[in-house]
C-alpha cells in the first residue's frame, strides 16, 4: 500500500504526502504550487478556464499515434473537478509548462497571439491547453474538428473566430524538437510508473476524516467495495467533483476505479459490445462509432471534450441522473449491466436499474462492472436526438433514443428511451406499443401522441417548460419516423459528421395533424 501520490508536473516529478484526497488539481496548482496560470471560471467543468493536459500510457497504441509517440495518450481535462489522487502515476502539463527552453513559445501559443485570439486573457490558458491537446492528437484543418475541440472552452470576448483561425493555422504542423523531447521525457516517466504498478503499491490514503483507495485489480476493488459499502465510487469525477466544489459535501471515503485496467476494456463479439465501467466517453465513442452511427451526434454533444475525456459511460449510468444522455440511448438498445459484489456477478437489464429519482437497484457493496450492448442486426437502427438550449455542452431538456427494427416499411420492433421527461431515464412503453406495425409512409398516428401523454408528464424547469418538452418529444417521434423512412439521419440542423444542411429541404409530405 502507498499513502503518497506522485505524478509528473511540467516535466518534474511531484510527490505529495499529505494532501486531502478531495483537493482539486486546480486548487493544488494555484494554492500549493503558486501556478496561477490555470484559472477557475466556474468550478463545475463547464467553462474550460482550468483546462490542463494529462498524459497517460496508451493501452491501445495502434489507435492514435501522438506526434510520433504512439505510446502516450494526451487528453485535455478540467482541473477544477479532478481530485489530486486521480493523477497518481500520470503526467500533467499546465499552461506554464508549455513554452520551450529560453522561453520560446510553443506553436499553439504563437498561433493564438498571431491571430489576436486573446482579449481579456482569462479563458486563454484553457484555450491554449485545449489547443495543445488538439495539436498533439493531430489537427486536420477542419472547423468541425475545432468546434469539438473548443466546445468545452467558453470565451466571452472574441466570439471564437480568432481562436478558430489560430487552430486552423496549426493543421498538420509538427512540433519543435524541444517539444518532442519533452514528450519523450513524459513517456519515460509514464513507463516507470506503469512498471511500478503492482497490487502492493495500490494507493490507499487515509487522512483523519477522508480516505481514498485506488486499487488496480478487479479483485481488490471488489474487496474494498464489500469492506466499505458506504464508500463513494469515483470514476472521472465529472459529477462527484461538483459535490465537492459546488455543494461542499464531505465525502468520507472514495473508491476510485480509475486504475483498474480491467474496467477500461472494450470487447466486441458478433452480437454484442461490452464496455468496462471505467471506459471514458472519448474512448467509447471511438470504439462504438461504427456500431451505432446514430449515436454519433449525441455523443459529440455529450458534455465537452474535457468532460468526455474524464467522464465514463459507466458513471453516467451508475449515478442515475434523470438527464444523463447515455441512459436513454442504452435503454433503447436494451443494454444489460453487470453488477459485481465481492467478485460475484449478476446481470440486469438497464431498465430495471433505475427505480426512482436518485435511487438505483444497486445493493450495498455492489459496483457496476460493465455494460453489455447488443449490436444492431439486419434492418435495425438506433436514432438519437438531443434537445438543449445550446448545441454543445448543455444538459438535455429532452433526449430521445429510438431503436427500430423495420420490416417492409413498417415498424416491426421499437424501443424508445427518454431523458428529461420523468424523474428517471425511462422507456416510453405505451408509445412503443402504439407505434408497433406503424407504416413509415404515414404521419405520426394520434394513438402515439396520446400514448406519449400517458407515458410522461414532464416538469417545467429552467431548461424547458413541460409544454415544450411534450411538444418537442412528440416532434422527435416525427423526426425519427421520417429518418427511419428515409433510412438515414439527415434531418439535423447542426453539423455532426453525418449531417448535411442541404438535406434539410426534405419535401416528404407531412400529415395534416402536424400543422
Amino acid at each position: 500500500m502507498r499513502t503518497n501520490i506522485s505524478f509528473f508536473l511540467n516535466g518534474v516529478e511531484q510527490i505529495v504526502e499529505d494532501a486531502r484526497p478531495d483537493t482539486t488539481l486546480l486548487n493544488w496548482l494555484r494554492l500549493e504550487k503558486g501556478l496561477s496560470g490555470t484559472k477557475e471560471g466556474c468550478a463545475e467543468g463547464d467553462c474550460g478556464a482550468c483546462t490542463v493536459v494529462v498524459a497517460e500510457a496508451n493501452l491501445n497504441p495502434q489507435k492514435k499515434p501522438l506526434m510520433g509517440m504512439p505510446q502516450i495518450k494526451a487528453r485535455a481535462v478540467n482541473a477544477c473537478i479532478l481530485f489530486l489522487p486521480m493523477l497518481d502515476g500520470l503526467s500533467v502539463t499546465t499552461v506554464e509548462g508549455l513554452a520551450g527552453p529560453d522561453g520560446a513559445l510553443h506553436p499553439v501559443q504563437e498561433a493564438i497571439i498571431t491571430h489576436h485570439g486573446a482579449q481579456c486573457g482569462f479563458c486563454t490558458p484553457g484555450f491554449v491547453m485545449s489547443l495543445y491537446a488538439g495539436f498533439l492528437n493531430g489537427l486536420d484543418g477542419s472547423e468541425e474538428q475545432i468546434n469539438h475541440l473548443f466546445a468545452g472552452n467558453l470565451c466571452r470576448c472574441t466570439g471564437y473566430g480568432p481562436l478558430v483561425k489560430a487552430a486552423l493555422s496549426l493543421a498538420h504542423q509538427t512540433p519543435p524538437e524541444w517539444a518532442s523531447r519533452r514528450l519523450e521525457a513524459e513517456w519515460h516517466y509514464l513507463q516507470s510508473t506503469s512498471a511500478a504498478k503492482t497490487p502492493d503499491t495500490d494507493l490507499a490514503i487515509e487522512t483523519k476524516d477522508q480516505a481514498f483507495y485506488a486499487p488496480t485489480s478487479l479483485e481488490a476493488l471488489a474487496r474494498l467495495s464489500e469492506t466499505f459499502p458506504d464508500a463513494t465510487f469515483l470514476a472521472g469525477a465529472t459529477d462527484i467533483g461538483l459535490w465537492v466544489t459546488k455543494q461542499h459535501r464531505q465525502i468520507a471515503r472514495f473508491i476510485s476505479i480509475g486504475r483498474v485496467a480491467a474496467l477500461k476494456e472494450i470487447s466486441k463479439t458478433e452480437t454484442q459490445i461490452i464496455i468496462g465501467a471505467g471506459v471514458s466517453h472519448s474512448d467509447a465513442m471511438v470504439a462504438l462509432a461504427d456500431a451505432y452511427p446514430g449515436l454519433a451526434e449525441v455523443w459529440l454533444r455529450f458534455g465537452s471534450m474535457q468532460v468526455r475525456n474524464s467522464g465514463t459511460v459507466g458513471g453516467n449510468i451508475a449515478n442515475g441522473s434523470p438527464i444523463g444522455d447515455m441512459s436513454p440511448c442504452l435503454l433503447a438498445l436494451d443494454a444489460v449491466i453487470t453488477l459485481n459484489k465481492g467478485d460475484k456477478r449478476r446481470q440486469m437489464p438497464l431498465k430495471d436499474f433505475f427505480i426512482a429519482y436518485g435511487k438505483q437497484a444497486r445493493q450495498e457493496g455492489e459496483f457496476l462492472e460493465n455494460l453489455i450492448l447488443p449490436r444492431c442486426g439486419e434492418a435495425e437502427h438506433l436514432y438519437a436526438y438531443k434537445i438543449s438550449k445550446r448545441f454543445d455542452q448543455d444538459i438535455s431538456a429532452v433526449l430521445m433514443a429510438a431503436w427500430v427494427k423495420q420490416d417492409q416499411g413498417q415498424i416491426k420492433k421499437l424501443r424508445l428511451g427518454f431523458g428529461g421527461m420523468a424523474a428517471t431515464p425511462s422507456r416510453a412503453l405505451r408509445t412503443e406499443s402504439a407505434l408497433l406495425g406503424h407504416d413509415l409512409s404515414q404521419p405520426l398516428p394520434e394513438a402515439a401522441i396520446s400514448a406519449l401523454a400517458k407515458d410522461f408528464q414532464p416538469i417545467s424547469d429552467m431548461r424547458a417548460s413541460a409544454e415544450y418538452r411534450m411538444a418537442v418529444a412528440e416532434n422527435l417521434l416525427r423526426k425519427m419516423l421520417l429518418e427511419a423512412a428515409a433510412d438515414d439521419v439527415g434531418m439535423r440542423l447542426y453539423s455532426s459528421p453525418l449531417v448535411q444542411p442541404d438535406r434539410l429541404t426534405s419535401t416528404t409530405p407531412i400529415g395534416a395533424s402536424d400543422a
Binding site: 499552461v95 481579456c120 466570439g159 471564437y160 473566430g161 444538459i395 415544450y468 411538444a471 407531412i510 400543422a515
Partner: protein, 769 residues
Amino acid sequence: MRESHLKASDRHDSAALYVTGQARFTDDLPFPADGLHIALGLSDKAHALITSCDVTACLASPGVVTVLTAADIPGVNDASPVAGDDPVFADGKVEYHGQAIFAVVAESAKAARMAVHQAHVTYEDLPACLTIDDALRENHLLEAPYTIGCDDIDAKLHDAPHLLTGQIDIGGQEHFYLEGQAAMASPGEAEDIFLQVSSQHPTEVQHKVARALGLAYHAVTVEVRRMGGGFGGKESQGNLPAIVAALAVKKTGRPAKLVYDRDEDMRVTGKRHDLRISYRVGYDDTGRILAMDVDQALRCGMSFDLSQAIAERAMLHAENCYFIQDVRVTSRLCRTHTPSNTAFRGFGGPQGMLGMERIIDEVAAHLDVDPMQVRQRNYYADHDEADAGQPTPYGQPVKDGLIKAMTTDLLASSDYYARRKDIEAFNRNATWCRKGIGFSPVKFGISFNKTFLNQAGALLHIYTDGSVHLNHGGTEMGQGLYTKVRQICARAFGIADDMVKITATTTGKVPNTSATAASSGTDLNGMATANAAATLKTRMAEYLAPLYQSDPAAVRFHDGKLWFGDASISFAEAAMQCWQGRVSLSATGFYATPDIHWDREAKKGSPFYYFAYGAAVTEVVVDLLTGESRVERADILHDAGASLNPAIDLGQIEGGYIQGLGWLTTEEVVYGTDGKLLTHAPSTYKIPACSDRPKQISVSLYDSGGNLSDTIHKSKAVGEPPFMLAISVYGAMSHALKGLGDYPKLNTPMTAEHLLMTANRLRAKRASD
C-alpha cells in the same frame, strides 16, 4: 527600432503573458501567508424582514477568524454608485434572493465557504414583487415615469393613415465575464488601505470604501491592472466585494480578499435589464413612419444602481437610425425584488434599438414589403446630404450620418436581395425547416449621458534612458485600451511601442476618474495621453531647439529621434539632455469632451459627441420540429472611424456580435417564483460556445475617411456599438417564421422553445382561421 504606427494591428500588450499564464488577475496576485479569505452569506428570500441572524456556528467552524455584518461598518452601509440604496450587508430586511447579509472571514476560501452555510437566519416574509408585470400592476416603480419627445402624440398618431400597436418582451442577460468579481485589500500604515480589484471604476471603489470605513479618500488607494472581462458588469458591482474586503482588513488588521465563485457572482450581481416595450406607430402606405409612441418598462431590481442612466440611453436610442417627425418615449423603472440590474455593453441602447427594429419589421409585414424598404424610407440623412442634421427626438441634430451609404454597401456586398429571394423560394418548398435573413442598422451615441463624466487624465514620465512610463484613468478589461493608448503615446513621441509602458491603473496616479464605460475609454484616455505628450514635447523642444540652432516649432519627433532640420539626436539622448538642463520630464494630460450637453429636466440637448454606425446581415435556419436554430452567415460592416488598431477593432466587432447573438438566442435568465435565480452557473446559463458562431462570417471596417468630430486621430469608439449588430438575428428569425401565419411577434431570447411554440401558435391559428 520600429516606430509606432497607428492603424497598425498591434497585438494586445498582454498577449504573451496571456498565453503563458503569466498575466495576473486579482486572484492570482501574490497574497501574504497571513492573508484571509472571505465568503458571503446570502439571503434565501426575495423580500423579508430578518428576524434573527445567528452566526455562532460560523464562528465555531474550523479556520474562521471573524464574521462581518452591517454592525461592523463604521461609516456608511452602502455600495451603490449613485443613489445610496444598495446596502453592503442587508440590515433588518432583505430585498432580493442572493443579497449579502453577512460575510465569513477565514484562513482559507474553503473554510469560509463551508462556514457560511452554518449560519442560522430567520425571516418574516414580505410580499415580493418580482416581475415587470408585478411592478406595473402594483405601480412599484423607483421613480415617476419619465417622458421625452412630442407632447401631443395621440393627435399625431390619429392623423397617420395606419396605426400599429404591439409589444415585445426583451430578456435580460448575465455578463458572464470569465473572471468573477474579485477584490483584495491590504492594510497600510495607520488607517490606510490599499486595494487591488477587478473593477471598471477604481475611483468609485475608492470612494465607496472610504465612506464605508469613514475615511478620507486619500487614505484609500485602488489599483486595477486588468479584468478578465467586464462588459459593464464591473462598473458598479465591484464596489461591494471591495468594501467587504476592506472591512475585513479593518477588523482583523490582516490582508483579506473576496473572490466570488461563479454561483455567488451570478446570484449577487445585477444583469442586463429585461424590458417590456409597448408601442403605437402611425405610418403611411410607403412605409414612412410619421409618429411613434414607445413605452419602455425596465426591470431594475431592488435599487437604482445605474438604472436611471440606462433607461435614459434606452430612450435616446428608441428611434435608432430613423428620422421620425413625432416621437414620444416613456420610461418606467420597475422596482422588483431581484438583483439590481446594472450596466451591460450597450447600456439600454440594445433594448431600445431592438424595440425600433421590431417596429420596422412589423410595419413591413403589414405592408407586405421587404423591411429594407421601410428602413431606407425612414433613415436619417447621411452627413453629405442636403438634409443632414435632422434632429433626434431629444433635439440633437444628426450631422454625421453614414447609415444610408453603409446600408447600400452592405446590401451589395452581402448579396442581400438575391439571397432573400432564394430563401423565400426555399421556404416555399420547405417542410421541416425554414431560413430567414435579417438586417439591422446601428447608430450609437458616444459619450456618457451624464456630461460631467466625460473627462479623463493621464500621467506621463520620460526617464533618462528614453523609456516612457504612462498611466491613465482607464481600465483594461480585454478591449485593448492599454494597447491603443500605448500606440497613441508612442506615435506622439515617434518611438517604438515597447519604449512605452503602461502600468496598472491606480487612483494614486490619476485621480477622480470616470468608469471605463460608455465605449469612451480610448476617446477620453487616448486624448488625455496625447495632451500630456504634447506638453512634454513642447518642453523638450523649447529647451533643446536653441542648443541645435533650431526653432522649437520645427522640432520633429520620429524614428526614435528628435530632428532639428537634418540634425538629430536619439530620444534617449534628448531625455538625458533635458534632465541635465533641469527640465521636468513628467506631465499630466487632461481631456474633457467638448460641445456636449444634456438637460434632463428640459429633455433636450446634444448629449453625444458623435454617433458610431454599423450594419449587419444575418441568415438563420430554424428547425420547425424542434425550434432549434443556427446562424448560417453573418455579414458585418462597421464604422470605427479611422481605426487606431484594425485587429483590435475587428475583435471588438466580432466578439460583440456573438455576445449579442447569445443575448437574443440561448441566454435565458430564469428566476423561480420565489425570486431565486435558477440559472446561476454555466451548467444552466448558456452563453454562445464555439460552434454557435455563424458558419460563415465576414467583418469589415467601413472606410468613412475618419470621424467628423475631433477625436483622437479621427477614430471612433468601438466597445459597445457592435453588440447591436446582432439585432439582425431578430429580423432573420422573424423572416424565417413569417409565412407560417400572422406576423410572429417574437420575444427574446429566441430559444428553441420560444421558436417552436411560436411556430406552433402561428400554425394553429392559421389552421383555425
